[in-house]
Amino acid sequence: MDAPVLALVVAGLIMVAVNAYVVLGGADFGAGVWDLLARGPRAAAQREAIAERIGPIWEANHVWLIFVVVLLFSCFPPVVAHLSVVLHIPLTVMLIGIVLRGSAFTFRAYDSTDSAVQRQWGRIFAVSSTITPVLLGMCVGALVSGALAVPTEASFVARFITPWWSAFTLTIGGLGLAVFAFLAAVYLTVEVQDAGLAEDFRAMALSAALAVGLFAALGLWFGRNTLTATTRALLTNPAAIALQLVTGAAAVTAIGALLTRRYRLARTAAVVQVSGIVWGWGLAQFPALVPGVHTIASAAAPTVTLRLVLIGVAGGMVVLVPSLWYLLRIFKAEPARAFERVDTAEHRLPE
C-alpha cells in the first residue's frame, strides 16, 4: 500500500477503536450515571445489577481508549501535540474523572460492606462517571466545530479556553452523556433477569433516548453557524446520507423495540445507532483530523511507521480477538448467576 492509503487505513482503524470505546467503555460510564440516578424501591438492586455488569469488563473496555491514544501518537503525532496543547484543560479534568471513576469502583468492590462506606465510594464513582463523558463530548465538539485552529500567538483565553467552551461544545458534552446513559440502560435491560428491574432500565433507556434526541437537535441549532461547512458535507455526501438514514432507522427501531420490550433487538439497534453517530462525526470532518490544521495526509507519520503499526495491530488482533471473545462468552453469554467477586466465590469443586 502506498502512503495515502496506509494513512487512511490507520485513520479508519482509529475510528473503529473510538467506536468500540464508545459502545463498550461508554456504557460503563453510562451505568455510573444510572447509579447516581437510581431511585425507587429497587434502587439497591439497580446499583447491584450495575456493579455486576461493569465488574469483570470495565478494565478491558477501558483499554480501547489507550489504544486510540497510542495509535494517534504513533501514526499522527502532530495531531496529539496540537490537541494536547489546546485541549489541555478539559483533557486534564477528564483524566481526573477517569482516575476517580476506576478507583472508586474498585474500592467499593473491595472495601467493607458497611453501607455508609459503600455509598461514599458509590457516589464518587457515579459523579465521576457523569462528568467524564461530558468532557469527552466537549472535546469532540470543539474538534468537529473547527474551533481548534487557534494561532499560537492568541491570548490565553482565546487559545486555551474559548475553543472548547461554548454552547455548542456543552451541548455535545450533554449528547455524549445521554448517548452513554442510553447504551448502558439498554444493555442492562438484557442483562438483568428480574422483570421489575428490566422495567426500570427500560424506563431509563427511553428517557435517555429522549435526551439524545433533544441534545442532537440543540447541537444542530447551536452549530448552525459554526457547522455550515460540516452540515453541507453531511447533507450532500451520499455516503453521509446513507449513514444518516441507517442511524435514524436504528434509532426508531431501538425505541420501538424498547416500547414493545424486545430488548435484544433494542440492544442491537442501539449499538448501530450510536456507531452511526460516531461515524457520522468522522465523516463530517473527513479528511481533516483537526479541521483547519491537520488532515489525515498532512499529519501522517512516515510510511514505515504506518506499515509496522498495521502489522503490529494485525498480529495483536490474533491474540486480542479470541481473548475478548472468550471474556464476553464467559460473562455475557449467560446472565450473571451471583456476583462472583473473588471473596464471595465458593471453593471450586475438585474435578
Binding site: 478494565e59 499522527f76 496529539v80 501535540a81 477517569i98 495483536g316 481473548s323 460473562f331 466465590a345
Partner: protein
C-alpha cells in the same frame, strides 16, 4: 515554580506513583499463580486462602495501575507535546504493542477474578498465567520506549527533523536489553521482598501460622533468585551507560578527569567549581574494571563535557547509592535465606532473619524509585539524549503548577486508600 519545573515534577510524580503499581502488577500475578498451583496440587485450603487474598490485592492494585497509566499516556502529550511530535513516529511501535499486552492482561484479569465458578480449575489457572505473562511483557515494551530516550537510534536528523525512521531499530535500541532486564528483575525483587517482609513480620508474632509460612515460602521463591540476578544485571546496566551515556556514569561516580585505570571513589567532597572530588577513598582501577571489565580502560570524566550538559550531580549520585545499597542488603538477605535452605533450616523459625526481612519490606520500592531517578535525572538536560532538550519539549500551556498540585493531592489520597484497603481488607482479616 516555573512551568518547566512544574511539568517535570508532575511527570516524575505520576511516573513515581504508577511505577509502584506497575511493579506490583508484574510481581503479584506471578505470586498468585504459584500459590494457586500449590492449591491445585495439594488441595490444602491454606493455598486457596492465600491465592484469593493475593488476587484481591492484585485487583485493587491493577485498577489503580490502569488508571494512573492512562494518565501517563495522556501526560506524554499534555506535558511534552514537542517530544511526542518528534518521537511519536519513532517509538510509537513499543507503545502500540504495549497496548495489546495491556489488553490481554485486563481481559484475563477480569476472567481470573470473576470467573472462579465459571471456569474449570485448569482454565482458571491458565487465565492467571496469561495475566502474569502479559503484565511482564507490557512492562518490557514500555521500558523499550524509555530506553530509546537514553540511547536514541533508528533515525537520522536532516534540517532538524528526523528522517529515515526505522521503528524496529528504535525499539531494539542499545539500552533496551539491559534496561528491560533490570526493570523486570526489579519488579520481581520488590514484590517478592515486600510480600516476604509483610509475612515475616506476621510470623514474628505467630511462628506457627501455616498461612504466613506458605506466603513467605512463595515470596522468597521469587525474591531470592531475582535479587541475586539483579546485582549482575545492575553491573550490565553500569557497563552500558559507561559506553553510551558517559556523563551519567561520571555523575554517578563523581568522576571529573578523564583517566586510564580510573579509581572508584567512596565518599569524599565534590568541588564542582574546581571540577575535582576531595578527601575520597579511592579504590585503585576499580571504576575501569566495573565500567569496562578492564583495569586499564579509559573512563571519561565530567570535565570533558560542557557544564550545561551536566545533570544535577548530587541527586544522581545519592539516588544511585540508595539503589545499590538497598540492592546489596536484599542480596544479602537472599544469601542468608539460601544458607537456611541449604542447611535445611526453617526460615520461619529464624527470628533475626525474619526481622531483617520485615525491615526490608519497602526496600525494593525505594530502590526502584531511586533507580529511575538515576536513569531520568541522569539523562538531564536531555529528554532525548543528545537530540532534544527537556526545556524545548515542554508545553506552552501556562499555570502547570495547578494540575501538578491536583494530581499530587489525588495520588496521595489514592495511595492512602490503597494502603488502607490492603491492610484492612486483606492482611488484617483472620485466615479462615
Amino acid at each position: 515554580m516555573s512551568d518547566l519545573l512544574a511539568a517535570w515534577a508532575q511527570m516524575a510524580m505520576s511516573l513515581g506513583f504508577h511505577i509502584i503499581f506497575a511493579v506490583l502488577g508484574i510481581g503479584m500475578p506471578l505470586l498468585m499463580v504459584l500459590s494457586e498451583r500449590q492449591w491445585l496440587k495439594t488441595r490444602d485450603p491454606v493455598w486457596l486462602d492465600l491465592t484469593k487474598r493475593w488476587s484481591k490485592g492484585t485487583a485493587i492494585l491493577f485498577a489503580v495501575g490502569a488508571v494512573s497509566g492512562t494518565v501517563l499516556s495522556f501526560e506524554l502529550g499534555l506535558l511534552w507535546p514537542a517530544f511526542m511530535e518528534y518521537a511519536g513516529a519513532i517509538i510509537g511501535m513499543p507503545f502500540s504493542l504495549e497496548g495489546f499486552a495491556f489488553f490481554t492482561e485486563a481481559i484475563f484479569l477480569g476472567i481470573y477474578l470473576y470467573g472462579w465458578q465459571r471456569l474449570s480449575a485448569r482454565a482458571h489457572w491458565w487465565a492467571g498465567v496469561a495475566v502474569a505473562v502479559s503484565g511482564t511483557i507490557s512492562g518490557i515494551f514500555v521500558v523499550f520506549a524509555n530506553a530509546w530516550m537514553n540511547s536514541p537510534t533508528g533515525f537520522r536528523i536532516v534540517d532538524g527533523k528526523p528522517v529515515d525512521i526505522d521503528p524496529i531499530a528504535a525499539m531494539l535500541n542499545p539500552a533496551a536489553f539491559t534496561q528491560s532486564l533490570h526493570m523486570t528483575l526489579a519488579a520481581f525483587v520488590s514484590t517478592g521482598i515486600a510480600v516476604a517482609g509483610i509475612h515475616a513480620w506476621m510470623l514474628r508474632r505467630d511462628t506457627s501460622s501455616p498461612f504466613h509460612r506458605a506466603a513467605l515460602k512463595v515470596a522468597l521463591m521469587i525474591a531470592v533468585p531475582a535479587s541475586l540476578l539483579q546485582v549482575i544485571s545492575g553491573d550490565l546496566s553500569g557497563k552500558f551507560i559507561a559506553r553510551w551515556q558517559p556523563v551519567k556514569l561520571a555523575a554517578i561516580e563523581r568522576h571529573f578527569e578523564t583517566t586510564r585505570g580510573a579509581p572508584l571513589l567512596l565518599g569524599g567532597v565534590p568541588d564542582e567549581a574546581a571540577g575535582v572530588t576531595r578527601h575520597a577513598i579511592a579504590v585503585p582501577k576499580m571504576l575501569s574494571v566495573l565500567a569496562f571489565s578492564d583495569p586499564e580502560a579509559e573512563v571519561r570524566g565530567l570535565n570533558d563535557f560542557p557544564r550545561e550538559d551536566w545533570p544535577p550531580l548530587a541527586v544522581v549520585r545519592y539516588a544511585f547509592q540508595i539503589m545499590v545499597g538497598l540492592g546489596g542488603m536484599m542480596a544479602f538477605a537472599s544469601l542468608w535465606v539460601i544458607v537456611c535452605w541449604v542447611r535445611k533450616r526453617e526460615v520461619a523459625l529464624k527470628r533475626p532473619l525474619l526481622t531483617f526481612l520485615a525491615l526490608l519490606t519497602p526496600a525494593g520500592f525505594i530502590a526502584v524509585e531511586a533507580g529511575w531517578v538515576v536513569t531520568e535525572v541522569g539523562r538531564q538536560p536531555w529528554i532525548i539524549q543528545g537530540f532534544m532538550r527537556t526545556a524545548d519539549a515542554v508545553t506552552p500551556m501556562p499555570g502547570l503548577v495547578i494540575p501538578f498540585t491536583i494530581f499530587t493531592v489525588l495520588y496521595c489520597f489514592l495511595g492512602v486508600i490503597v494502603a488502607w484497603l490492603l491492610w484492612a481488607q486483606i492482611v488484617r482479616v483472620r485466615p479462615a
